[in-house]
Symmetry: C2
Subunit: 331 residues, 2 copies
């Protein structure tokens, strides 16, 4: 059974449609749906949820049950990081085929719990039910946040930065899709994403990010949310995209490797906008503290939408569908 990518289009359209119908905000609700997390309790508690569905977000041939749980939890925690929220609690709901109860289900739960607790989130509850189809997890995370960093807030002239390197998780999916075992580094990126929580809190304490999100759907697609939320646009610099070595190893053609970095998803790195010069001041200390590089990938500009400044000097719209095709799409 080949996973058919649902694609961001219809998924986001559906979310937009039902959210548009619901009331916006309420007493004590600072940020409603549409950002990485909602923020309530007068802006002190952030909450987010993330679904992981077998044969849509992962396959059992790719991941062990503990990894499935860890990865589902990491994806949710990454939403807290995107808001600069400190993990507080979590709920894990699990649907599992009868044959997977208790063994596989319990290992999934153990993996999720381990990841959540290592990030400081206490398991507050959840639900378990039989699934007559795929294994699935819905991980809800709660975080404490003093000053949430929203997707909006970027201004023209701001620099756009990312943590780490991009495209390795997509490279792993690409290998699996063509029947190969991915290189260890690519598999690790897909199976063990590390939500950038400490990094996000560190940057937010220093007032660096004016707008931030996490990269779950690919840089080109996600930066479009950052641009749209602020009402501005982003110009990405082709030559500055930090292509992960594992992506370059899987795709020797530099165009293809770039496509994995720009269009592949599930990197769970941070992408943020900062005032000109603000990041340079802290980049070395950041690298020393976390062993993670910060790379400037572009600039916020007045002109709406996302464009790519190619090495040949041309400015083109990023061909997300093309990238998605290269990347293999696991969603």
């Amino acid at each position: 059974m080949t996973p058919t990518p649902l694609g961001p289009g219809p998924e986001f359209d559906l979310i937009r449609r039902f959210l548009a119908r619901s009331r916006k905000g309420g007493p004590g609700i600072l940020v409603g749906p549409g950002d990485d997390c909602a923020v309530f309790e007068g802006g002190r508690i952030a909450i987010s949820s993330d679904l992981s569905v077998e044969d849509v977000h992962f396959r059992r041939a790719w991941l062990g049950p503990e990894e499935i749980g860890r990865r589902a939890a990491a994806a949710s925690l990454s939403d807290l990081a995107a808001m600069a929220a400190a993990p507080l609690g979590a709920l894990v709901s699990l649907g599992a085929p009868a044959a997977d109860v208790p063994d596989v289900a319990e290992k999934c739960m153990a993996g999720a719990t381990e990841m959540l607790e290592s990030a400081g989130a206490v398991l507050l509850g959840g639900d378990v039910a039989r699934s007559p189809g795929p294994l699935f997890l819905d991980v809800v995370v709660l975080g404490r946040v003093e000053r949430p960093v929203l997707r909006s807030g970027a201004r023209p002239g701001d620099e756009v930065w990312v943590t780490g390197a991009l495209g390795a998780a997509a490279a792993a999916v690409r290998c699996w899709a063509r029947g190969d075992e991915p290189p260890a580094a690519a598999r690790d990126a897909f199976a063990h994403p590390r939500p950038r929580i400490r990094e996000a809190l560190w940057l937010a304490e220093r007032d660096v990010p004016r707008a931030m999100l996490d990269l779950s759907d690919g840089l080109a697609g996600d930066v479009a949310h950052l641009a749209a939320a602020g009402g501005f646009g982003v110009l990405l610099e082709e030559g500055h995209i930090p292509v992960h070595p594992a992506a370059a190893a899987v795709a020797p053609d530099p165009e293809e490797a770039l496509a994995l970095a720009l269009g592949g998803g599930e990197d769970y790195e941070l992408c943020f906008a900062a005032r000109p010069g603000a990041v340079q001041k802290v980049a070395n200390e950041f690298m020393d503290s976390f062993g993670v590089v910060l790379t400037r990938v572009g600039t916020v500009r007045e002109e709406p939408g996302v464009a790519l400044h190619r090495s040949d000097g041309s400015i083109v719209p990023p061909d997300v569908e093309g990238y998605r095709h290269f990347a293999g799409g696991s969603r």
Copy 2:
């Protein structure tokens, strides 16, 4: 495809096992997993989640898409009622087969949102993904609570009360299971459960319930949680169980009707323990305010476990498996 009941046994064992492994509580966490809701933020916020999975909790032949969404939301809201928490916000995660996007998925979401908002819960977020199998929803609800009413807190001699009448939802499932269309009242009980939020808040304001939960798995099974949480037992009075007229209509044999009321699930009524005489003082006002009867169904006693005082004077363990068999089991 006949839904195979997972049964409360393995489901609860699994929950117990993974929760036992996780840390209990944390800073500001008053109630950890194991009650109807977890309570955090120094005891001010209650949170709970509830999964609804196609062909496990419902079938499409039984419910329309809006009803599927409404019912899933009602089940979660009922957990807030059980804690005497006032609904504040919610997250809805939906998995839907590609063929159901957008139409069925959107109607499910609309139904869930309508139910949540009618109860005062603002839609804070959620997630949407393709499901290669069943339609499913995970509804997470947040509520504000001053003094949560826990499952523990009952003392020997306390009276055990329930709101409303029991067994109608199970009667509907029983009809569907044998290929009949259920009577309108039974179908309505299954398709449109009404979480007893206002009723719970009203009772809690008057300090009536010492321990409370909602009836999702059937009175005999759920009251066992109330008994176990307090370290005591409950003696149910067979002659006092408020059998819903629709259950009596579907099961003309009084033993079978009682089985539906005792062992059938998804009534989403409240069950609570109160000091002797405390409920009588408010029962008429409660009836006038909500049009819902309060019935005393038993007594908390030292002897652990749940027993049934039959009309012939004998005291027997409630035969939950037998009841489950009668009820048809939809889980």
